[in-house]
């Protein structure tokens, strides 16, 4: 057994950490997330072109670094440490993951664009009635000649305001919660009939409500088989789920470090508050949650290649544990900071917000415990 990183993996982490250290301090982040567009496009370009980071999980023949899920986890953890809003998750992990799985002409065409930073892809999968069920879809894609006509409403699509493309789940058949009849499409974000309502999110990113009104899409927008897309969607969402666990690990580490640092400086009753045993024990508990989040992320990541049931059980175990941990570490970071912790001015609260959103992303603690039980404890 060997949990050490390879030289390339170390290089990815160090390069990215150094770059983010130089470009992504908290004040700079606040400046651009509060700007009209909500981002600084130069960062994405630099991640692609100067660092080659958007190629981390892709094959060398597409211009990538030849990595996979572990490399994604390394990148996501570093992005978490600076609460970056860069759309690495939907573009590289999710859309990239789908393209890698499908291969062929679609992958050959799009992956180089992702690596070059010229494509930003948002993942439009959630619907208002669907909660975390990936098959619960009312969006439809009806066959129309060689292509399809798309209709429906997708909610809270992160990064959609910046996207050049959308990865969309839709029904090509079946009833609204059937496993069969689900398809995955990669489409141009600016097709006629796509209506977007953009807004900021509480964790500093941007998202949209997207309405598809008789959007004509070409036949080759379909990724994988028609009506049999759910297993592929579940696989890429599992990859995405461990990727946010990795991000959470970075976020939680910073929440913990920030709290350690603050309590050693802040004096009350004539001593640094870190001297109060009740706070010490709490910070120890936070530390244990951070370490277990890291362990579970690694476990989930390493099991992504297993057969579906084993993979899903591992990912759900990881996400459930990380969701609880993020909740505990986030809340206690704020509590231990006292009043200053609830101000917008301090970074700690913004880490807390991201940690809070991660709790529910791709399924809450309860959702994943339920999925875990269904797989592992079925009678």
């Amino acid at each position: 057994m060997d949990f050490t990183y390879t030289e390339t993996q170390d290089m990815i982490r160090d390069t990215l950490a150094r770059f983010l250290g130089d470009t992504y301090d908290f004040e700079t982040r606040q400046k651009f997330i509060n700007s009209d567009s909500g981002r600084d496009p130069a960062i994405w370009t630099a991640l692609a072109q100067e660092l080659g980071m958007l190629g981390a999980p892709f094959a060398e023949e597409h211009g990538g670094l030849g990595g996979g899920a572990l490399e994604n986890a390394i990148v996501m953890e570093e992005l978490g440490k600076v609460i970056a809003i860069e759309p690495y998750l939907p573009t590289v992990v999710i859309a990239g993951g789908a393209l890698k799985a499908v291969g062929g002409a679609q992958a050959d065409a799009m992956i180089p664009e992702i690596i070059a930073g010229s494509a930003i892809i948002a993942f439009a999968y959630a619907e208002p009635q669907g909660r975390y069920d990936l098959a619960n879809l009312r969006t439809t894609a009806k066959k129309d000649g060689a292509g399809y006509v798309l209709n429906g409403h997708k909610g809270v699509v992160y990064a959609a305001p910046w996207a050049t493309h959308l990865l969309v789940t839709a029904r090509t058949g079946g009833g609204h919660r059937d496993r069969d009849g689900v398809s995955l499409f990669l489409i141009d974000a600016n097709l006629p009939g796509i209506v977007r309502r953009d807004y900021p999110t509480v964790d500093g990113s941007r998202a949209s409500e997207i309405y598809f009104e008789n959007v004509a899409i070409p036949g080759d927008a379909l990724l994988g088989g028609e009506g049999t897309g759910l297993p592929l969607i579940e696989q890429i969402v599992d990859e995405a789920t461990v990727a946010v666990c990795a991000e959470a690990t970075g976020v939680m580490q910073k929440l913990h470090e920030g709290t350690l640092e603050y309590t050693q400086q802040r004096k009350q009753f004539g001593v640094p508050i870190a001297k109060f045993q009740v706070l010490q024990h709490r910070m120890v508990d936070m530390f244990m949650e951070v370490e277990q989040a890291r362990s579970m992320t690694i476990m989930g990541t390493l099991k992504l290649g297993l057969p579906a049931n084993e993979r899903m059980a591992a990912v759900s175990a990881a996400k459930a544990k990380v969701a609880r941990g993020a909740n505990f570490v986030g809340q206690n970071a704020i509590q231990t900071h006292g009043g200053i912790g609830i101000t917008q001015e301090l970074a700690i609260g913004h880490y807390f917000k991201r940690a809070t959103m991660i709790e529910g992303q791709f399924g809450s603690h309860d959702y994943h415990m339920d999925r875990y039980e269904r797989i592992t404890l079925a009678e």
């Binding site: 909660r131 998202a207 009740v278 704020i334 009043g339 101000t343 917008q344 309860d366």
Partner: protein, 397 residues
């Protein structure tokens, strides 16, 4: 022992219910339903209606304008106002400085300030905390130096809730630097329009302007505005911190909160069923109800118990700890219930610029409220400090 309301209590409950139904302002209700931020006028609108009715200060002695209600009637009152979602009355005048003034103040102070607190003419704020003095309140450094009939006050206060609206503030200041910490503090009433006072906003995590920094530079305050003896302000401070026993637990509001969470979870879908049919979610709601019942009956025991007519004791710490934890769990359940729609930020890009809600209309306040309510275990003496109080005062450790 019994827990039934008497026929008189039930009649009182009817009277209260009817009064609220007939008098609570409809436009205020609309604003609340829309989740809009409340203005000073909004807070004062309900205050003035209650003042006219003579119901503004149920906790005060009758001679100063109280209602003379029994503890049970006061309990009914807080239940009914919470049930009807009435806007909360600002505690700083009615629940905090008012009782200090009628307990420790001079006849002149009572005659001048109490009627103005009741009528809502003066909006009060609380100037206790300082950047270096939070939990360790007695270490405060803002100084008041005697100068003829006045004090000259210098220092900085922080976390001053809604000071941007305040006409008056009650401040703890140091009048003797040589004395032991608690013994050199005085309790001053300061006109917030005095020259030398600057109020600066602090924006909190949910995006609200609720707290402020208050700077005092050579502020001249007549000594006649000191309550109680010089250097004995700590007595007033402690009295005030423990005073408001009813209401501190927030039982009635949390009961109402549970109803709201249930309403959301009946509307939100989980598969083909409402979220409230989900066994995990339902269990969390039920556990919260059980914990709330435990809090409620602990509060009722403390209201009706042998200490009922003594000043509130350290048991108020228990109510604060458990009440605030329940309030936070409620906001956590709401956020969980709204799923993806917790993420849209409901404010627009500009300051004070509200976007129309995205997603269901009960969703857009879920995340800001969750973030905002982290304060409840921090303010009013953090829950760690409350536990220290119980350890020392109740358990004798």
């Amino acid at each position: 022992m019994d827990m039934e309301f008497s026929p008189e209590d039930l009649a009182f409950q009817q009277e209260v219910r009817q009064f609220i139904a007939e008098n609570y302002p409809a436009d205020l209700r609309d604003k609340q339903d829309e989740g809009e931020e409340m203005s000073k006028e909004d807070f004062l609108a309900w205050h003035k209606i209650l003042y006219k009715k003579g119901w503004i200060a149920p906790a005060w002695p009758v001679e100063y304008g109280g209602t003379g209600w029994t503890p049970t009637q006061r309990f009914i009152w807080s239940e009914e106002t919470a049930r009807a979602d009435c806007i909360r009355l600002m505690p700083f005048g009615l629940a905090m400085v008012g009782p200090v003034i009628y307990t420790f103040g001079t006849p002149e102070q009572k005659a001048h300030f109490l009627p103005r607190i009741l009528s809502g003419e003066d909006w009060w704020c609380q100037g206790y905390s300082e950047p270096g003095s939070g939990s360790d309140l007695a270490s405060l450094r803002t100084t008041a130096v005697a100068d003829g009939d006045d004090y000259i006050v210098n220092g900085q206060k922080t976390w001053t809730t809604l000071a941007q609206h305040a006409d008056w503030g009650f401040f703890l200041v140091r009048t003797d630097k040589e004395a032991k910490q608690q013994e050199g503090i005085s309790f001053l009433l300061i006109d917030m329009k005095s020259p030398g006072i600057t109020v600066r906003p602090i924006i909190t995590l949910g995006g609200e302007h609720e707290v402020n920094e208050v700077w005092l530079e050579d502020v001249r305050v007549p000594q006649s505005q000191r309550v109680y003896e010089e250097n004995k302000g700590w007595t007033c401070a402690k009295f005030l911190l423990a005073h408001e026993r009813t209401g501190i637990a927030g039982v009635a509001a949390s009961k109402r909160g549970i109803e709201k969470v249930k309403a959301i979870a009946r509307t939100e879908l989980d598969g083909d069923k409402p979220l409230l049919a989900n066994a995990f979610f339902k269990r969390k709601v039920a556990e919260l109800e059980v914990d709330l019942a435990a809090l409620e009956f602990t509060e009722l025991r403390s209201l009706a118990g042998p200490n009922a007519n003594r000043g509130p004791g350290p048991e108020s710490s228990l109510l604060k700890i458990k009440g605030s934890e329940i309030q936070q769990r409620l906001t956590e359940l709401s956020l969980e219930a709204v799923g993806h729609y917790g993420a849209p930020y409901f404010r627009g890009f500009g300051e004070g610029d509200n976007e129309h809600p995205i997603g269901p209309d009960y969703a857009h306040r879920a995340a800001p409220t969750y973030f905002n309510m982290r304060k409840t275990t921090i303010y009013g003496g953090s829950n760690e400090i409350q536990r220290n109080i119980i350890a020392k005062m109740v358990l004798g450790l």
